[in-house]
Symmetry: C2
């Protein structure tokens, strides 16, 4: 399978690293805007202009959401083009052979993702192209599911909640620890147990703490002690949401 990778950001880099390692794949070119090199150390040509792109079996667009449509428009209308976004509809691609190859994972600079733990969320306008994307997910050693753009948008929303929002709670807790001369490491076993519980219980059944047991005294004490107004808002909104659900 001849693949052209477009994008040199966090996702593009992780894809590059994986794609050059897959025997069945020939990485034709890697397009990286403002690239300073013409060739990677693995011998893949690097280009920085869309017009330099040659023929390929699949153009994989791993760029920020808002850049997807302009990149796709600059590609041949008969090409097989797939974007890698959770929130962008398949319709954004004008090509008849449009597809989606969205890795349900969070990519941070400097971290190497083990793709065997990743599920690729697939969609394609044509069945044969879906088969190609499934094969590509297999080459990655990853899982895959096929859902429509509407479901994918909701899955992406859920991913933002469990990843970005959870991580923000960790950020707030880390700040509290720092302000009180406590190591954030103290909380890590508790964080891990919060996740481990999901193997045995639904998150709703696993809920504990002042909100779910309606311990108004502790809630009032906590709110009084919070100085950061944003954290206070988060505390109020989430506590009220837990209480409503219980």
């Amino acid at each position: 399978m001849k693949i052209t990778l477009i994008g040199g950001g966090k996702l593009g880099k992780q894809f590059y690293r994986k794609l050059v390692d897959i025997e069945e794949i020939e990485l034709v070119q890697w397009m990286v805007r403002s690239s300073k090199t013409n060739l990677t150390s693995e011998g893949v040509p690097v280009v920085d202009q869309m017009k330099e792109l040659m023929h390929s079996d699949l153009y994989l667009i791993a760029v920020p959401d808002k850049a997807i449509d302009s990149i796709a428009e600059a590609l041949p209308i008969e090409a097989f083009v797939a974007h890698c976004s959770g929130g962008v509809s398949l319709d954004v691609l004008k090509q008849k052979r449009g597809g989606v190859f969205y890795p349900l994972q969070s990519f941070s600079e400097g971290r190497i993702i083990d793709f065997s733990t990743v599920t690729f969320v697939l969609e394609a306008k044509q069945v044969k192209d879906l088969t190609l994307l499934q094969q590509l997910a297999n080459y990655f050693g990853a899982h895959h599911i096929t859902i429509d753009s509407k479901q994918r948008a909701q899955l992406h929303l859920a991913a933002v909640i469990v990843n970005n929002f959870t991580n923000h709670l960790f950020t707030e807790a880390a700040a509290l620890c720092e302000q009180n001369d406590l190591s954030f490491d103290l909380l890590k076993p508790l964080i891990q147990e919060t996740v481990n519980k999901l193997e045995a219980l639904s998150p709703k059944a696993a809920q504990t703490g002042p909100a779910v047991r309606n311990d108004q005294e502790t809630i009032t004490k906590h709110l009084k002690s919070i100085k950061n107004p944003k954290l206070k808002e988060i505390y109020q909104v989430v506590t009220s949401a837990i209480q409503q659900q219980s």
Copy 2:
């Protein structure tokens, strides 16, 4: 060390299970309100009245926060009494030999906690009693730290944030998955990676997603698609908090 355990809830049960296993400890009695038995299968006397309690080296109070002071008041004034709460001040105990033995962990019915991953947060009015509590934490095979009531209250707040609030985000995400015919299992590798990142990065440095990259288009799409008003509030407040911090 002779110990009397007071409380038959989630925490009391976990403590009971561990205490009967520790050779160096004689569990004198276990007080469980509305208990239906006089003796556990391990041979520990069970009582349901404070007045039935006999002498002990340490009375360990594992009851809801609001019951702590009345339980402590019913205990001998010269006794060594420790409560196990994150949010209750040491001063609530009138005994001169008051202490705190707070396990920084979340206890759910039916889950057996591995105490080697638990840190006990200790406090005592007298140094010799602190030493006893440190020894007890060692018997549990657990870690321990000693901090004051003010720090402990803030640590408890941080624990509520990373455990209860995070778990609520999981609950919201699970509901979204269910509403869209998606398995919540899909999100578990992402949840695990969110936690794994903490080993290498601060949560602030690990942040990704629409809020931190100011992707207003995705944020607007998400907000439009959220039907649950509580989730919409959470989305707005947390997104704004992430943006303020970045």
